[in-house]
């Protein structure tokens, strides 16, 4: 026990020393390497699935090569951002849940840009669309216990048998720009030349492809 703890402390001290001594070099290398790894496909001989078999005293450990041929090649492989690689720029909205669900964590938040490889503008657009998709569909004035929004509900489950004191008001909404609790009612809307508008959608999506003639109104 004591030996193990000593060993552990020695190992940790060693790792600390290594990082401390060559910290600057390693950091520079890491900064150069990481973007290459995440954006392009890693060159490898094939992903293998490790299978262990025990035959009495002999243990066989095999690596089965999985045929991971790309399901579909992106039409524009030279681009850096995944959205530009698939030519989806200016073509997605808060309703495209299959696209948005690829960039979210299990608890509903966005994945970091250095991992997904998105360019900053597209990352911002996607995070705004994810927020709108979470708020869209059914929602309530207080925190709800029932499934909310177009994306699956990420809230932690409450203990069973929990009865809410007040019935939550179920309100449907879509294209909500701001968080529900932060918005205040517009008591004085103003005259025609100085009206306080109610914003709908987000101006970041104004360049989306429109196949009709009607313009996109963000101020209602």
């Amino acid at each position: 026990m004591a030996a193990r703890s000593v060993l552990r402390s020695v190992l940790s001290s060693f790792t600390g020393l290594k990082l401390g001594v060559s910290g600057s070099n390693v950091g520079v290398l890491q900064r150069i390497n990481v973007p290459l790894v995440s954006a392009l496909t890693v060159q490898s001989r094939g992903v293998r699935q490790v299978v262990e078999k025990q035959d009495g005293k002999t243990t066989t450990i095999e690596g089965h090569i999985q045929d991971l041929s790309a399901a579909a090649q992106p039409p524009n492989p030279e681009a850096k951002c995944p959205i530009y690689r698939w030519n989806l720029q200016h073509r997605y909205n808060y309703t495209d849940v299959l696209l948005l669900s690829q960039f979210i964590r299990s608890d509903g938040g966005m994945l970091p840009r250095r991992i997904t490889g998105l360019c900053p503008e597209e990352h911002r657009k996607i995070s705004i669309c994810v927020q709108m998709a979470h708020r869209a569909g059914q929602s309530s004035t207080c925190s709800s216990y029932s499934p909310v929004g177009l994306l699956p509900d990420h809230k932690p489950k409450l203990p069973e048998g929990h009865v809410p004191k007040r019935m939550k008001q179920q309100l449907n909404r879509y294209l909500t720009r701001y968080a529900i609790d932060t918005v205040k009612p517009i008591y004085k809307r103003g005259l025609k030349w100085s009206k306080k508008r109610m914003p709908v959608g987000h101006p970041v999506l104004k360049d989306n492809v429109r196949y009709g003639f009607k313009p996109l109104y963000t101020k209602h």
């Binding site: 995944p82 808060y94 669900s101 909404r173 879509y174």
Partner: protein, 179 residues
Amino acid sequence: MSSFSRSAQQWATFARSWFIIDARMQPPGKIATMCSVRLQGKHKPIYHALSDCGDHVVVINTKHIAFSGNKWEQKVYSSHTGYPGGFKQVTAAQLHQKDPKAIVKIAVYGMLPKNLHRRTMMQRLHIFPEDELPDDIRANLTEELPQPREIPKKLSDYTQEEIDAFPRLWTPPEDYRMK
């Protein structure tokens, strides 16, 4: 049609039809424009303001109406009782809680022409908060109008095959956990 007799053709032209609109997940303003057009009779080539050619419109599921943006919190409905200190302002969410039919009713009322025909047209508008309809109204219905807004699909409504058929846009690095 040319095969109908003249009296039948005349009867069909001037008959008052009953339309039904489902307002589930629809913006109340778009529902109200469709209602007001049909209540006035402007969808008919024989329209004239004095000829009382409006039709009946039934709106169902007004409890499940959907506002775009943050209008549930921002939109304010004001009224004055006439007495001093009687200016009341309620947000759309509060009004919807009190009366789920009010938002559509106020929207249609504001879109109809501001004359004495407005009250008769409002009498021909029938709003129901849920699916249930009285049997006599259900027997009168002639046409269902298409919904103005396409309801987006939730992720839980997609089948697993559709989710798998959608290509993965990016591959995560092997050393990244916590998705």
